[in-house]
Amino acid sequence: MFTSKRARLAAAGFGLALGGCAELVSTTPAPVEQVRSINGVKWVNPSVTDPRDSVAWGKPEYEIGPTSRLLMRLEDMVSKNDSIVTAPDKPITVRIYLPSIWAPTGALPDAEAAASVMQVCPITKNWMMHATWYRAFPHSEAGDWTMPGGDFDTACSKNPKVERDTMRSLVYLKFDVTQWFLDYPRGRGIDYGLVLRSDQTVRVFGETSPSASPRMTYTAR
């Protein structure tokens, strides 16, 4: 069967248009929730003044309390600013796993107690892995914290949700830090990270814990 030249050209054009649409659709990936282990973690305590003291980093557990804090930063967060999606159903969260509350049958009252005293606050001064309780960086007096223990914004994320990681039989606190992301990484283009603080002593998993390190979750294209 023969078709006219005009008909064949029209068919070819329709095919090209369909192909082009298919290309456009394929370059727009759907947003996916990502869970990443926070890599920049530094424990600060008044007794540790050596910036290189190995008790302050690379540990599976840390003790957080009135004089012990955890500085945390996902080191490449700013570079992902544009791809991160924020929406009421897509919060940016920090997960802190609690080893001492591990309970197969659930021990939520203890976890709830931890949740009531722990906060995650935006750090307002740039720091590095040589930070200590007294200094954000050790190279000059410019590195001194205004307040020992770290300078932070009082607009903290409080009252985290207590959730259970059934796969690992662990309980974790889930802090919503979406506002911090909007105010600092996206709003100002700076990421000084977050500080985990507590009014009472609580043990948390550290960054070298294989399955329960502090994590940040966000949705990104």
Binding site: N39, G40, V41, T49, D50, P51, R52, W57, G58, R73, E75, D76, M77, V78, N126, W127, M128, M129, H130, T132, R135, F137, P138, H139, S140, E141, A142, G143, I190, D191, Y192, G193, E207, T208
Partner: protein, 446 residues
């Protein structure tokens, strides 16, 4: 020409083309006229040729220009020394005479009035050559005549004049060479036995204790032991050339580790003005793996080159040293987070001075370090205070006895850009660590 006859006169003997001076009777000073005009033309010719730069003719122009000209009252017969064609005509009458010594006058005789201007120019130059050439040739009529012809010949050049002198009167060059050789020892000072140029090689042990190293320091090195071996097997007596090695051991908190290895090329030079000059290029190389010292801020390779100059007087010495260290980098890992350190070019100016007596030297130094930058970078963190300075100084006491020496010194941070200390320089083998150091060294010189 005039001869001062030693047999007829007492006193100093003049050797030259002079007679008894009887022809001066009635001679009058000439201030103008053809003789003076021709002298000016002769002077222009000499300046055109640049005879002042020709060996042996350095004072010829001055002799032509400044010699007083006299005209004798009558012509005279030639003496034995007047046989040259420049002095007398075929009938034996003499044109001119002069003493063969600097600044003597020139006497012309009436017969000279028959000469053309070109001949008078030649006569002025010829007589001046008798006065200005070295003594070994100034009375040799044949050689003086050859040089006169070379200067006054048409289209004469300086090269031609030089060539004639080299061929016809080589003794002029010999005289000049011997004069230069005689003056050289006075210009080049002798190398004293106490100079480092005489004993440049050194084997030394040193110990340094760093001050102000605390918990906040970038690198907590408390002290350093070093073994130095600088040998100078090459070069001359005044310019020894050698290679230096320096191995170090660091005391850290906690433990002891191998420090950087220093390699250097060194030149010492005794200058003609009596200065002990040194030039060096050295590399401080980290020897350890990343798990050891290399995983720190100061674990960088440092390349430095510089020059020093020292003057020793009877009871005093002063030494300047200028050097520059090349930019470098180092990296430290804290967990999985890399911290990168960048060191800019460091310019160093150091002055040492003091008194010395019987091998004991008491002195001190002041050193200025000017660095382009010191940067610390971690993914989201950058510390960059820009250009900075560190000024340090301290006392030095040294006692040398024959081939042995001991020294004690201190280095203190006197002033710096806010927050800067020796850690920022990242040069353990150079300025060291912390706020300063106290050190001692034992040397064997050879």
């Amino acid at each position: 020409m005039l001869i001062w006859c030693p047999a007829a006169q007492a006193g100093p003997t003049w050797v030259g083309n002079a007679d008894d001076g009887s022809d001066l009777e009635g001679a009058k000073r000439v201030e103008s006229g053809v003789l003076i005009d021709s002298r000016k033309t002769a002077l222009m010719l000499l300046k055109t040729l640049g005879t002042e730069g020709v060996p042996g003719l350095g004072t010829l122009s001055a002799e032509v220009e400044s010699s007083h000209v006299y005209m004798a009252a009558k012509d005279v017969s030639p003496l034995d020394e007047d046989q040259g064609s420049f002095h007398s005509d075929l009938s034996g009458r003499v044109y001119a005479r002069t003493h063969a010594r600097p600044h003597a006058p020139t006497r012309f005789f009436p017969i000279a009035a028959t000469l053309s201007e070109a001949q008078l120019i030649s006569l002025h130059i010829h007589e001046a050559l008798h006065r200005s050439l070295p003594e070994v040739v100034r009375e040799n009529e044949s050689k003086v005549a050859s040089i006169t012809l070379a200067i006054t010949s048409p289209e004469a050049t300086q090269d031609q004049v030089r060539s004639v002198i080299a061929v016809q009167a080589p003794e002029i060059l010999d005289v000049i060479r011997s004069q230069q050789a005689a003056t050289e020892p006075a210009l080049v000072s002798a190398v004293p036995e106490s100079s480092r140029v005489k004993r440049p090689s050194v084997l030394a042990y040193g110990y340094r204790n760093y001050r102000g190293v605390n918990a906040q320091s970038v690198m907590q090195v408390e002290s350093l032991h070093s073994i130095q071996s600088f040998l100078y097997p090459f070069g001359g007596e005044r310019t020894p050339l050698g290679i230096g090695l320096e191995a170090t051991l660091l005391n850290k908190r906690p433990g002891t580790e191998m420090g950087p290895l220093g390699l250097s090329a060194r030149l010492r030079l005794w200058s003609s003005r009596g200065y002990d000059v040194g030039a060096f290029a050295k590399a401080s190389l980290n020897m350890l793996s990343k798990e050891e010292l290399q995983n720190s801020a100061v674990a960088r390779d440092v390349g430095t080159f510089g020059v020093s100059m020292r003057k020793d007087l009877s009871f005093f010495f002063v030494e300047n040293e200028l050097s520059a260290s090349l930019p470098g980098k180092s990296q430290e890992m804290v967990g999985t987070i890399p911290i990168n350190y960048e060191f800019g070019t460091i310019y160093t100016a150091k002055v040492r001075a003091g008194g010395q007596l019987l091998g004991l030297k008491l002195g001190g130094f002041v050193e200025v370090n000017l660095a382009d930058y010191f940067r610390v970078k971690q993914s989201n963190f950058t510390y960059d205070p820009g250009r900075y300075r560190i000024i340090s100084g301290g006392p030095e006491v040294t006692y040398d006895f024959k081939n042995f020496g001991v020294s004690v010194y201190g280095r203190y941070l006197m002033d710096s850009t806010k927050g800067a200390d020796f850690d920022w320089l990242g040069n353990i083998l150079g300025q060291g660590m912390g706020q300063g150091s106290l050190g001692a060294e034992m040397h064997v010189y050879f």
